[in-house]
Symmetry: C2
DNA sequence: ACATCCATGTAGGCAGTCTAAACAATTCAT
DNA sequence: ATGAATTGTTTAGACTGCCTACATGGATGT
């Protein structure tokens, strides 16, 4: 039983097409097709099945691909073990993030990297893309979701929580509520809101506020970019929900944040990984750095 | 990271010499040596070390060999999985046993084997050999030890208990104690014993009887073969401890068994396996058959 | 000192995996 | 509908890598 072939099957399960697997593994589609054929012959039963011009896994294929993950994990553990022996967290790690988390965590992490450890980062718009799917492409995926509900569950991915960031109400200076220590849903009736596009976790909290306050909120704009939203708030065009640690980067002192009471208003930032990649020493090192950086950020925002 | 090479390292850990590994894996020592060299180069640190004319593992080598077991296990699980899919418990399984267990369990197991499943058996003298070491050579090793104490622990082997067999006192017909329903240690003072050679579990029980009865037992002979011991008992030359389910095969009715009260007198019969081999469907099938056969034997000796 | 045992080099053969290019099948667009 | 594009498969040939055979270098024991 050859591990490389099993790996190929797993890639096929993750990526869905022979060509994609070939691309990802630096091979020609022909090579992939041949190896899968050999695997099927060894297995003695069909693992794949043509569907249209593509290829899908059979039940047996899916089951085998799942167990291939275990193989990959134990293999990664073995290689990580001898990296441990050399104390040698070396190599390249790739990472995708949504913009705000990257802005908050990555500079601090990269500054403190050990020698020989390289972190390649990229950002993606969380509403345009299926973030869990990026685990096929990147070693680490920074994603967020509301506390409690894990939208990425059930895919067999490793999930490491990094921090929970409160979502505050952003107000312009001089706003009637700006003097309060905190605000409650009922205080917010009648305000004009700057919202975000669908799919964002923010959305759900706004609805929760509506429920709690018993009134509909008026939503004048919908943006994806946080800086843009904040500039609207500062201009007095409305108020918005903004993540506490990431806001105000551009124009400090002109935006006021008020904690929201009476409702749970926070987002959870986590790292998503394929289980096998999570075992690599280099990856584990980066994850540890992310956690420590997250703790630092969180602490620096906690009033003494 | 290549699995085959890891496997080679694990074999080296189990067998202790390059030549032995070569023999076991149907290769030349040269091939093994080369592959280990490649593995070391990949690892970047020495995994083996010359000692005399042999080769021993370094700490790193041992650690890596241990994690190689996990890889082998998950790989075996994968192949077992698709054997499951085909409902195809097929292939050859090898087994060593000590004589009495083989006599008791194997005929029944082999009779009920499914088609395509072959069980190759051998027997070894348990006092001459290190039974756990046979797991390198055979898929399944039937061994025994006293209840509670596991002499084979700590080697990373899979242990499956099959049955516990009482050790009774064997008496010739017409012996003064032959009418009793059971005997106690104090009843046995003054008897002449037929013992077994050192290392057998029997030994320990005899010592326990001495402690309990407060007197030394006189030991006239020491044999390893059960049939031989029994013939001595039948001839009136002494009494002996005999396993309840295995005794009297040769000459029924001429040997009387009496349960021993006041002391725990039983041996545990278990199957020992390398963890990866334990995952094979064919092996699991045999193990299941052994368990069921053991239960049958045990039940047939339980008075209604 | 010699025979033996064990591990390791070296050279060459062989098998298995890849690339390249042609092919077949399906979908999409015009 | 017909052609273009996408996707997977086939075939032939090159290349890599593993293994065998044989020779070498230490270490052990008689």
């Amino acid at each position: 039983m050859d591990v490389q072939r099993l790996e190929l099957l797993r890639e096929l399960a993750d990526r869905g097409s022979v060509t994609a697997v070939a691309l990802a593994t630096h091979r020609t589609p022909s090579a992939v097709s041949q190896q899968l054929k050999v695997l099927e012959r060894e297995a003695g039963l069909p693992l794949t099945q043509r569907q249209g011009r593509g290829l899908v896994l059979t039940d047996a294929g899916r089951a085998l691909a799942r167990s291939a993950t275990d193989v990959a994990v134990s293999l990664a553990k073995a290689t990580a073990l001898w990296d441990d022996f050399r104390n040698n967290a070396t190599g390249e790690v790739s990472l995708v993030t949504f913009p705000t988390a990257g802005q908050m965590l990555l500079p601090g992490v990269i500054k403190n990297l050990g020698p020989g450890l390289v972190l390649n980062c990229a950002d993606e718009d969380p509403e345009l893309s299926d973030f869990p799917a990026f685990t096929a492409e990147y070693d680490i995926v920074l994603a967020h979701s509301m506390s409690g509900q894990l939208s990425w569950a059930g895919r067999g991915l490793t999930v490491v929580p990094l921090m929970t960031e409160p979502l505050d109400v952003g107000l312009p200076v001089g706003h009637p509520l700006a003097d309060r220590a905190w605000v409650r849903p009922s205080d917010l009736i009648g305000e004009t809101w700057i919202g975000v596009t669908d799919g964002y976790p923010f959305e759900r909290i706004l609805h929760a506020i509506e429920q709690e306050a018993g009134a509909r909120l008026s939503m004048s704009q919908r943006f994806a970019d946080l800086a843009l939203i904040e500039s609207f708030v500062i201009a007095g065009l409305g108020i918005a929900l903004v993540p506490r640690y990431t806001s105000g980067g551009g124009q400090p002192g002109r935006l006021v944040l008020k904690p929201l009471r009476g409702i749970e208003s926070e987002r959870q930032i986590v790292a998503l990984m394929r289980p096998d990649r999570a075992e690599r020493l280099a990856v584990r090192t980066i994850i540890a750095a992310l956690q420590s950086e997250a703790a630092t950020v969180q602490q620096s925002h906690t009033p003494k």
